[in-house]
Each structure stands twice: as structure tokens, then as C-alpha cells.
């Protein structure tokens, strides 16, 4: 009898919860979507979403880790040029030294560039220990500067003389804004990243007039730990930042 016919639950579209996180992104689309997970029309059954996703992540990590391992090996070849204990340096030191070399190469190239452009820019000595270093806005030939630099006076050169007294090899990096020319400046004590490293407080900057180079003097006391020390150059009157000094003390 119809009145006693058992009520049946309609057949469900799916019998398991959807756990695929990949649907967080766009849902599969395109004509082939109907075959996903259920096997292609021809050939062997296709692996499920989660299989492919997890395999692709695994594969991705293997590719990038192998790439990084090869990069480390290549870097190792750079540092393996000398095998005596005295000449062995850590990777960080080696990179630092190479960076300084590149910076100095770059300065030389830059100088040549300016000489070609300006024709008379021949007073560009080398930094680390004693000399006049280029800083701030070196004059630039075409093309014109991007808008961010538009407020800076074009064509001015800030000349800086750097004098470092140190029992250890050092490298100095200096950025001075063009506006610093002719202003009274002070330089703050140079600090290392770690709080417990003593600061370098014997740092002065002497300014006279716009025609005379600024003179930055840094004295490094004996026993000062190797590392990078940074300080700010500020205008004495307003306290506005006018540049930065960075000194790297290399291990003996």
C-alpha cells in the first residue's frame, strides 16, 4: 500500500565532508574540471587534488632547496681560496670585505662616469682611512632625477674628508644630504646593533664653509669589538637628520 511505503532519503551528492583547502582559492573551472579527481577520459586515473597539491609542495621545496644548496656550494668556492688558518674568515666577513671592494669599484666607475659627463670632476679620492669621499648628491647628468629627489638641489657636491684612527682595519660608509653644505653639524655616537657593545663616542664632524670639505674624525679605542657601528649626522640648530655614518671594524 502506498500509505505504508517506506520513505527513503534522497541520494546525497557527496558522502564526505569537503576538506580540500585548495578550494579557498578559485574553484576549478574549464571543461576538464569534470574529470578532476575522477580520472581522465583516457589513460590512467588522475590523482586526487590533495595528492597533486601535496606532491607539488614537496617538489617545490626540493627544487628550491637544491637551488639554495648549489648556491651555498658556489659561495663556498669563493671562500675556499685560502686554506691557512690565519687567512680563514667567516662567510659574513668575506661578504663584508667583498661588498667594500664592490663599493670602491663602484665609486671608481661612478667617478669615470662623472668625468665623462662633466669633464672636470677629477678630485675623487678613496675612502676608508683618510681622504675626501663623495657623499650626498653627486651631480648627475641626464636623465633628470625622479620626483622623490626633486627637492634636492641639483648639481651640488658635498665633499667630505674622513679621518679614522684605529688599531684595527676599518671601513667607513657615509651618506650626507646635499642640504648639509654650509650648516653646523654634529654626529652622534656610533652604536652597534647589540646593546651591550660599547659605543664609539669619539666621533666629530667639523664644518667651516661651503667651499671647504666637511671633516669627519673617528677614533676607535683599543679593545673595541669588531662589527658595524652606525650613527646619525644632525644639524646642530634644528636637530634635523642630515646623514648617516657607518663604520665597520674588521677583525685583525
Amino acid at each position: 500500500m502506498n500509505s505504508h511505503e517506506r520513505i527513503k532519503r534522497p541520494k546525497l551528492d557527496r558522502t564526505q565532508p569537503i576538506r580540500s583547502w585548495s578550494t579557498l582559492f578559485t574553484a576549478p573551472a574549464g571543461p576538464e574540471a569534470t574529470t578532476a579527481g575522477g580520472g581522465a577520459a583516457h589513460g590512467p586515473a588522475a590523482p586526487s587534488w590533495n595528492d597533486v597539491v601535496s606532491r607539488s609542495v614537496d617538489l617545490g621545496y626540493r627544487v628550491i632547496d637544491e637551488y639554495m644548496r648549489q648556491g651555498q656550494k658556489a659561495a663556498q668556492r669563493f671562500t675556499d681560496r685560502s686554506y691557512t688558518p690565519d687567512s680563514m674568515t667567516s662567510d659574513a666577513q668575506e661578504i663584508g670585505t667583498r661588498m667594500a671592494q664592490y663599493a670602491s669599484d663602484f665609486t671608481a666607475v661612478w667617478l669615470e662616469f662623472l668625468q665623462l659627463g662633466a669633464g672636470n670632476f677629477g678630485r675623487w679620492p678613496t675612502p676608508p682611512f683618510e681622504g675626501a669621499a663623495p657623499a650626498g648628491s653627486a651631480s648627475r647628468s641626464a636623465p633628470p632625477p625622479p620626483p622623490s629627489a626633486a627637492t634636492e638641489p641639483a648639481g651640488t657636491d658635498t665633499r667630505v674628508r674622513v679621518a679614522v684612527t684605529s688599531p684595527y682595519p676599518t671601513e667607513v660608509s657615509l651618506d650626507v644630504r646635499p642640504q648639509a653644505v654650509g650648516r653646523r653639524l654634529i654626529v652622534q655616537s656610533l652604536r652597534a646593533v647589540t646593546e651591550d657593545t660599547p659605543r664609539l663616542s669619539d666621533v666629530t664632524i667639523e664644518t667651516t664653509d661651503a667651499d671647504t670639505p666637511l671633516t669627519l674624525r673617528i677614533r676607535v679605542p683599543a679593545g673595541q669589538p669588531a662589527g658595524v657601528y652606525n650613527g646619525l649626522i644632525v644639524e646642530e640648530e634644528s636637530g634635523k637628520p642630515m646623514g648617516t655614518v657607518s663604520l665597520r671594524i674588521l677583525p685583525e
Binding site: V53, G60, V63, I64, Y67, S137, A138
Partner: protein
């Protein structure tokens, strides 16, 4: 008022894209020889583009504490390099369309286009040199070193892919493909923008190697999605001819999957198709390849891999950015991972 994650990516792409375009204008100003060179140099950059790379660079720099102006020079350089690569890639790939218009070499011939690509590269170098004013010599040199590596990796990746096509390589694994994409696409699309952003934002105080994985996963997901859009996207929005990669015989993840999945007979036909020069390939053959990809689920396979890689990118993002204060830029970098898969 806060911006939702879905709106954040387009909003920041617009904002930082505009910032970059304004700065880019300084490098694209009319000058002589205007007709033969500089008007053509400005062609691709003025065709638009999503500005993902510059935006990623600026946003990363900001997330790490820099002002946008600190990173805009690098963003401009990146955009100039990107356009230089596009000009040369279009020649190498024999492409007909770029951003909805004929490619530069199709309009002006290969010799002129090669020269324009060279000029764009030199302008990018100029932008990196100009970084010195804003960033100081040391940081500017570090950015240049990154750019040199990025360019080297990119040409190596391009060489691998061109070699596959020249030699009609048929046995390429997914790992081979990812290795090629790491070099050809990831370095200049995501790794370089991220690493230089971190470099500028932290003033060189971060280990950049930690950002390789994130850039790789994001860039690879981006490239696979780009290749999928080439087959099934909106032609007008995509800006290139649909199925152009099949016409070019480009070894995409879908083609690599198809080469594995098809029968021996079909593989013979596909190998013959791929061995032909582009202009000898016919529309029915291209349609047959596209249809076989549907049949064997090649697009779905690639889509799954892209999603897996995007998930890995999100995981790496969590490891790298967790310590940073929350910001719109930090949210953008996270949202970009999903966006690369959602774009149509």
C-alpha cells in the same frame, strides 16, 4: 575605513603603480633620436600593465620600515628591465601581441626592437645608479648586485626554455619546469622585488636568502596561472593571443603533463607538431593540442600544482613576516598570493 583583502591588492597596485609610473616618466622623456628610439622605448611601458613587480618591491620596503620614495627608484628600474625582457622575449618567442597591441618587432622589425630592448636595459641601469642619491652608495650597490643576479638568473632561465624548444625536448619533468621557472620568472617577478624591498626597508640588516623560498613559490604559482590564462583567459584582459603558448610550442606545465599522459601515437603527432617552426603550425593542430589538454586534465593538473605552490608561499610568508608590525603593506604581500590565482 578599512579595505578588504579582495580590494586591497587592486588598490595598492593602483597606488604604487601610479607612483612608479610618475617616476618612470623621467626616464621616458622625449629626446633625440626620438622617432628612431625614444618614442619606441616608451611604447611598452605606456601600454600599461598591472605593476605587480614595482608594487611588491615598494610594499615590502614599506612593510620593513622604509618610505615609499626609498624604493621607487628600484621599482622604476625593475619596470624598465621588465619591459626590456618583454621586447626581447617577444622576438625570441615570435609573439604577435603584447598588452592588446602588435609586438614591437611586429611593428618596427627585429633590428629596431632589439635596440629598443637594449636601451630599456640601460635606462634601468641608470635608475639603479640614481638610487645612490636616495639610498647611499653602499645600499645602492647592494641593490645593483641583486639586479645583476636577477638579470643573470633570468637569461639563464630563458636559455633553458629556448633550448628546450630548439632541441624539441619531449621528456621534461615537473621539477625541470619549476627549476626553469625559478630562474626565468621568479627571480624578476617576485624574488628580486621582495629581496630588494627587504634590503631597502631594513637597510641591509636582513638575511635575504630567507626570502628565496617565498619568492619562488609565489612566482611559480604566478607563472603557472599566467600560462593557464593563456589557454582559457579573457583575450581582451589577458592582452596576448589565446593559446599563443601552443602556437609557440612553449613548454608549459600543461604541455609537459600532456606529453606524459597521451598515447604513443598521439605523442608522435604532438612531437611532430612541436618540431615545426611556428609559421608551419596550423590552427587545427593547435586546436587538437588544446582539446587533448582538456581530455587528459592537463589544465587541472597545472592548476592543482599552482594552488599547492601558493599554499607553500603562504606558509613561508607566515614564517618571514610574522614578526613585523601589522600594516597595509604587510597585508598586501599576503593577499597577493591569493590574487595571483584569482586574476582572470
Amino acid at each position: 575605513m578599512t579595505t578588504s583583502a579582495a580590494d586591497l591588492v587592486p588598490a595598492i597596485l593602483r597606488e604604487y603603480g601610479d607612483l612608479t609610473r610618475v617616476a618612470l616618466c623621467d626616464y621616458l622623456r622625449p629626446r633625440e633620436p626620438q622617432r628612431q628610439l625614444y618614442s619606441l622605448v616608451a611604447d611598452y611601458p605606456r601600454r600599461g600593465g598591472r605593476m605587480l613587480r614595482p608594487s611588491l618591491c615598494i610594499a615590502t620596503a614599506r612593510a620593513f620600515g622604509a618610505a615609499p620614495e626609498d624604493a621607487v627608484g628600484t621599482a622604476v628600474a625593475l619596470e624598465l628591465f621588465h619591459n626590456a625582457f618583454l621586447v626581447h622575449d617577444d622576438i625570441e618567442d615570435e609573439s604577435d601581441e603584447r598588452r592588446g597591441s602588435p609586438t614591437l618587432h611586429a611593428l618596427h622589425g627585429i633590428p629596431v626592437a632589439v635596440n629598443v630592448g637594449d636601451a630599456l636595459t640601460l635606462l634601468g641601469l641608470r635608475a639603479l645608479l640614481d638610487n645612490r642619491t636616495r639610498l647611499g652608495t653602499r645600499l645602492a650597490v647592494q641593490v645593483m648586485e641583486e639586479a645583476e643576479r636577477m638579470a643573470r638568473e633570468t637569461v639563464e632561465g630563458q636559455a633553458i626554455e629556448l633550448g628546450w624548444r630548439r632541441d624539441n625536448a619531449l621528456h621534461i619533468s615537473d621539477a625541470d619546469y619549476l627549476d626553469m621557472v625559478l630562474k626565468k620568472t621568479c627571480w624578476y617577478t617576485t624574488i628580486f622585488p621582495t629581496r630588494t624591498g627587504v634590503l631597502i626597508g631594513s637597510r641591509g640588516n636582513h638575511d635575504l636568502n630567507r626570502f628565496l623560498r617565498f619568492g619562488f613559490f609565489l612566482g611559480a604559482a604566478f607563472q603557472i596561472q599566467d600560462d593557464l590564462l593563456n589557454l582559457e583567459g579573457n583575450a581582451q584582459r589577458y592582452g596576448k593571443e589565446l593559446s599563443g603558448d601552443i602556437w609557440e610550442g612553449k613548454r608549459t606545465l600543461m604541455l609537459i603533463h600532456l606529453l606524459r599522459a597521451i598515447t604513443d601515437d598521439e605523442r608522435g603527432r604532438l612531437a611532430e607538431f612541436l618540431s615545426q617552426p611556428r609559421d608551419a603550425r596550423t590552427l587545427p593542430d593547435v586546436q587538437w593540442v588544446r582539446e587533448r589538454m582538456n581530455t587528459y586534465g592537463s589544465l587541472e593538473h597545472a592548476r592543482q600544482i599552482a594552488h599547492g605552490l601558493a599554499g607553500a608561499a603562504l606558509h613561508e610568508y607566515g614564517l618571514l613576516y610574522a614578526g613585523l608590525p601589522d600594516s597595509r603593506d604587510k597585508q598586501f604581500v599576503q593577499a597577493v598570493v591569493t590574487w595571483v590565482l584569482e586574476r582572470r
